[in-house]
């Protein structure tokens, strides 16, 4: 019962916030709805026993990536967006098309088997660490290079050119 109730609560919050992201005109409202989505996703991860992923989701996504977004919005003082002709076309044709695809996907996915109960599978930091530093050591090291490149790219792009 507990699991079902919690799932429904957080799923509803999640979807509502995602739709709010689409409905809001001002980017800061969209960013805040995205943070809500990420927060409730973290709680859903907890329901699936992924403790560590849930914590990292909050720390990295909500606490670092979205801060960057909010920071950029504040820095550029971005105003409300105005809809253009092409975006109206996109709404008229795109939304129904996406809805159809989702309906089809949901139908296919809902035939899948398996149920989730609370607490019978825990992805704690120890197990994940073992996997990450043994089986996935090479990809892990490669990501560090990726991050280094991203940092340098960001610095080069955002730097004001001095003439």
């Amino acid at each position: 019962m507990m699991h079902t109730v919690l799932f429904i609560i957080f799923a509803v919050v999640c979807v509502a916030a995602a739709i709010n992201l689409l409905a809001q005109r001002h980017p800061i409202n969209s960013a805040l709805s995205l943070i809500v989505v990420m927060g409730s996703l973290a709680l859903l991860y907890l329901l699936l026993g992924a403790e560590f992923v849930a914590a990292v989701q909050i720390i990295i996504y909500a606490g670092a990536i979205m801060v960057l977004f909010v920071f950029t919005i504040m820095l550029l003082n971005a105003g409300e967006e105005e809809l253009s002709k092409s975006s109206r076309v996109a709404i008229v044709f795109g939304v129904p098309a996406v809805a159809v695809i989702v309906a089809a996907l949901a139908y296919i996915l809902s035939r899948g088997a398996g149920t989730a109960a609370l607490g019978d599978f825990i992805g704690g930091p120890k197990e994940i660490g073992r996997l990450l530093f043994r089986d996935f050591l090479l990809p892990f090291e490669v990501t560090s290079v990726l991050i280094l490149i991203a940092i340098m790219g960001a610095v080069v792009l955002a730097r004001r050119e001095e003439r």
Partner: protein, 348 residues
């Protein structure tokens, strides 16, 4: 009564008790700060309300509630109202995973002295800290005032920068204790080194402690890192446009964060509630001795906060950023490398 109802009731009761104690402690931390800083600057601090000004927090609280709540015309209202709530809610949330002592016993009933015991408590704390930036950032942005915006831009950049050092400084401790649960980390610190030195993580990890302390000062926006507020430059920084209870909420959030930081520092580096056993006391009092040691260590932490406030001047903004990235972060990384080398060489 079903178990889940029991669980909910117990958690709610604990939360209420902890929040009441915490907010009282916050009020008296303000009193303590005014008193101590006053003495350091050759003044008396509050003296008028009650003996030693002890009722001053009460008077302040009444004043905050009764003041008119001004909402300036051009603010972005929903966020302007939400920002202080976000701040204070997140500040209070982080205390939920902090253990205050071992089991509390009332007759046959016993419960851990903690709201929830989470396996990844330390990560939860880091997560809540990292989300706490939003309160400050949104407050400054929604106020639609240049002082607020500057203050909040500074604050968010500062908090994001120092969060990295804060997180990295904890890793040395984690390597030593091999757990993310605060309770297990504390239990790993019982006993002594060489028979006289308490087995606190502070001794092997004093570099990490220095980094933690510095980063924690920056995270809580205290002097010498109180750039976001910097009265002389920015009026009051991100809460310039706030008044009455909304201002009080930011104030509460700041002091609650101080308490959380002090709690985490005590738990990770100073053995939490472990201390001399005080066996001469009667049995009834005995069970509260760990709580007493915990409170005492937190008091020392707070005193250190106030002491530093009374001593150090404020950093300049570029100095702050350079210090965070070029000094603190490398030190934290070096500490991790050294600690893991030590552990790798000593464990067979």
């Amino acid at each position: 009564m079903p178990t889940w109802a029991q669980f909910v009731l117990l958690s709610a009761a604990k939360s209420v008790v902890v929040i009441i104690i915490l907010l009282t402690a916050v009020a008296y931390a303000v009193w303590l700060e005014r008193k101590v800083v006053g003495r350091m600057q050759n003044r008396w601090g509050p003296t008028r309300v009650g003996p030693f000004g002890l009722l001053q927090p009460l008077a302040d609280g009444i004043k905050f509630i009764l003041k008119e709540d001004i909402i300036p015309t051009n603010v972005y209202k929903p966020l302007y109202i939400a920002a202080p709530m976000i701040s204070v809610a997140l500040a209070l949330m982080s205390i939920a995973v902090v253990p205050f002592g071992e089991q509390l016993r009332f007759g046959s009933f016993s419960t851990p002295a903690q709201i929830t015991d989470v396996n990844v408590a330390l990560l939860v704390l880091l997560g809540v800290t990292s989300v706490a930036v939003y309160g400050v950032a949104l407050a400054g942005w929604s106020s639609n005032s240049k002082y607020s915006l500057l203050g909040s831009l500074r604050a968010s950049a500062q908090m994001v920068s120092y969060e990295a050092s804060l997180g990295l400084s904890l890793i040395g401790v984690l390597l030593l204790s091999g757990s993310l649960s605060l309770r297990e980390i504390v239990n790993g610190q019982s006993g002594t080194y060489f028979g006289f030195l308490p087995r606190w993580n502070f001794f092997p990890q004093f570099i990490a402690f220095f980094v933690y302390l510095t980063a924690a000062f920056a995270e809580t926006n205290r002097i010498p890192f109180d750039l976001p507020e910097a009265e002389t430059e920015l009026v009051a920084g991100y809460h310039t446009e706030y008044s009455s209870m909304k201002f009080a909420m930011f104030f509460m959030a700041e002091y609650t964060n101080m308490f959380t930081v002090a709690c985490v520092g005590t738990l990770l580096f100073f053995g939490g509630w472990h201390g001399p056993a005080l066996t001469f006391l009667p049995m009834v009092v005995q069970s509260f001795v760990p709580l007493f040691w915990f409170a005492f260590k937190i008091f020392l932490f707070l005193f250190l906060y106030i002491w530093i406030r009374g001593t150090l001047p404020r950093f300049r903004y570029d100095q702050l950023m350079a210090f965070g990235w070029k000094v603190l972060l490398p030190i934290a990384l070096a500490n991790i490398v050294l600690t893991s080398l030590y552990i790798g060489l000593t464990t067979p």
